[in-house]
Structures are given as structure tokens and as C-alpha cells.
Symmetry: C2
């Protein structure tokens, strides 16, 4: 009779965070040089081991702050990655998170840490390339039925900024008139009464997201 394998009593539970932000209307992800002997020369998502005293969401926040000085405007759990050899050193089960950051340029990140356009990311350490793919898919999907975009824009923004965000992240183009009709008809945003200044063309009206959470519409058919 075969002996049953042992329960995994000493699992390392980690979190990894895919932090997205917009720089010049282009989606960037926060990356760091990994600090292990393997995967030499590769970049990795920001991640680390959870403490006894915190949930994975709390761990994600803490690790982001400690390792990258980033304090995201939004965070949610993405998916747990548990392939046996996903980390070549130990058995590590990692809970991946998706985070969004509004003002990347206000942050002084540690040396080596950087924001990379997602289209320019080549292969990352561990299974982080897969995590990034899952995160991009999730962000794209959620743009369609939530107001998650608000965590990538300033408190006040123009409808053109909002449209450009959608076009950039979804890699499509959208008709300006139809986009504005839809967004306004759904009452996702409201005018602040203010307008742009310091532009050398007609200043656009500034909008804000309406406060109550709105997570059940459908922007694209």
C-alpha cells in the first residue's frame, strides 16, 4: 500500500501585485529587478511574504509601500498561483493582486524600480508574465461594466481624457459622439462646473465620477 503524501505544512504564502498606472495615456506596470539568484537579469512584479498578522490584501499594501513606496488608489485580488515549481527555490503559493495608481509622477520609487509600458514588457521572472496577462484581461473586462477607470484619472478630468483611457487600454478607437452619449446617458460622470485652463484651444469641461459605486452597466454592447 502506497503512503499518502504529506500535507503541506510549511507553505510560503506570498503576494504579488500588478500595479497599473497611466503615463502619457499609456498603460504602465510597476516592475523591480528581482533579488534572487535565479532569473538573473529579469524584472519582476512587486511581491513578498505575508505576515501572520495580516490578510493578503493588507500584505499587498504593506509590501508595495515597503518595496516600492507606492500607495495605490485601488486594489483587488486577482487570482492565486500555485503551480509546484513556480518558484524554483521553495514551494510558494502566491496570491496575485491588481492595483491602480492615479499619480505615478508624484512618487519617488527606489533605485531600480520603474514603470514600464505594458506593451514593452518582455519575459518576467517566475510566472509574473502570466500574472500580468491575467491582470490586463481583468482590467479590460472591468472597464466595460464598472467605473474602475476612476482610479487611473485625476479627480477631475475631461471626457476626452476618459475616452483616451478606454482607447489606450482596450487598444481600440471609439466614436467621440457615441462615447459621450453613452457615458452621459449612464450618468457615470457629472460636470464639476469647472473647465480646463492653460490650454491653447477651447477649454474642455471637467467631469467627476458620480459617487455611488456603479458596477452593473454595459458600455460595449
Amino acid at each position: 500500500m502506497k503512503r499518502a503524501p504529506l500535507p503541506l505544512r510549511f507553505a510560503v504564502v506570498a503576494v504579488d501585485v500588478v500595479v497599473f498606472t497611466l503615463i502619457d495615456d499609456v498603460l504602465h506596470v510597476l516592475l523591480q529587478p528581482h533579488n534572487s539568484e535565479y532569473y538573473k537579469g529579469k524584472l519582476a512584479l512587486v511581491g513578498g511574504i505575508i505576515y501572520e498578522s495580516e490578510s493578503t490584501d493588507e500584505a499587498a499594501q504593506r509590501i508595495l509601500a515597503q518595496k516600492s513606496h507606492v500607495s495605490p488608489d485601488y486594489i483587488e485580488q486577482l487570482q492565486t498561483f500555485s503551480a509546484i515549481n513556480r518558484d524554483k527555490r521553495n514551494r510558494v503559493v502566491s496570491v496575485a493582486h491588481l492595483a491602480l495608481l492615479r499619480n505615478p509622477l508624484d512618487i519617488v520609487v527606489p533605485a531600480g524600480t520603474l514603470f514600464v509600458p505594458v506593451t514593452a514588457v518582455s519575459s518576467l521572472a517566475y510566472d509574473h508574465t502570466e500574472m500580468l496577462q491575467v491582470a490586463i484581461g481583468r482590467l479590460q473586462a472591468k472597464l466595460g461594466y464598472t467605473t474602475i477607470a476612476k482610479y487611473l484619472l485625476p479627480a477631475q478630468f475631461t471626457l476626452t481624457q476618459l475616452q483616451t483611457l478606454y482607447e489606450s487600454i482596450l487598444a481600440t478607437t471609439i466614436d467621440k459622439r457615441n462615447f459621450r452619449k453613452k457615458i452621459l446617458a449612464l450618468r457615470l460622470v457629472e460636470e464639476t462646473g469647472e473647465r480646463q485652463s492653460g490650454v491653447q484651444n477651447r477649454p474642455a469641461s471637467l467631469y467627476r465620477f458620480v459617487h455611488q459605486q456603479q458596477n452593473d452597466f454595459s458600455l460595449f454592447v
Copy 2:
């Protein structure tokens, strides 16, 4: 200066599985009496500790087979639950899974284990009530844009069976003509050429799901 807390070196990583199945067109969930000193008298989802040699998905399959003799037709990861006191005995991080089972009546489950209509479930052990809620929400959402329903129906089924499945799980009613038009227009299913037998009314045509995965339509606006 305050000492930093210790990394969690001895986390227990568990899986819990929400197994859904249809019995008499009603959604049921697989439950077992828990076997810990706490939560006396409460039912719990099927769950257990992962092995060193398996991913969480593999663990979910194994634990289901061992503890409930169930071999599901579909399984996916749902969400990871990591609140510090979610298990009163130890720090346990649990990766919840959603599973679907086609033929519950073919299975002889162990004594105590049972399928309970989801509407009849009261409070479960641990955070399993929350897991069940998340699972129901996920299943409902996925009915709208995937062919996940196929894992709850026999290989051949009538359009009425399919519609009843939707109505039952979504707790709505649907117009028969509109439902059939939509399902057929999307080419989600095709006629097998066979018909019902042994019914004392006009026998319905039997359909099967078209093979290729279809995960990007929208059934309900």
C-alpha cells in the same frame, strides 16, 4: 523602534470547494458536517489541506474525491480567503473553488454528506457562507457569457431544460420564444437529430452544446 512582525512561515494552505449540481431543476450545493470542535452542528463545504506535490486545483479534485466521492465535471478557482481569524484554530489561507457536477444521483456520497438546495442553506462553518455567496454570484454571471451551463446538463438536453436551468439559477423567468431565438442565433447548441422518448406529450428535440469553447457572447443585454 518597533520590531517588524515575522513573515508567516507556517501558513496552512487549504482549499474549499463549492460543488453545485441540479436536482429536480433546483441548484444544490454539496455540504458535510464539519469535523472540528468549533462550529458544532454546522455544515461546511468540502475542503482540506493541500499536499506538497499538488497545485490547489489538483488538491481540490483529490479532496473532493477522498472526502465526498465526487468527481466534478468542471472546476475553477474562485477566490482566496485569508482573513486572520477565518479558522479559529490556526491561521489557514483557503483557496476557494467552484465545481459543477452533472449527475449527482449516480454518486454514493459518504454518510452525513448531502446536497442541499442553496436557498435552504443557513449559516455554514468558517467563512463558508461567504464562499457560497461568491460562488453563486460567479455562476450566475458566467451563465450570461459562457456555456458553463453544459456542466450541469446531460450531453443531450431539450431547450426547455436549458431554459429552466437559467430560470432556476438566475431566479427569473424568460420568454420561451425569445430564449430559443437567442440561443440558436448564437449557435451555442445544435440539434442532435434525436428526440425525447417516454414522455406523454409531444417529444422535444434534443440538443448538444457546440464543441468549441464559447465565452464571449452576451445573453442578457
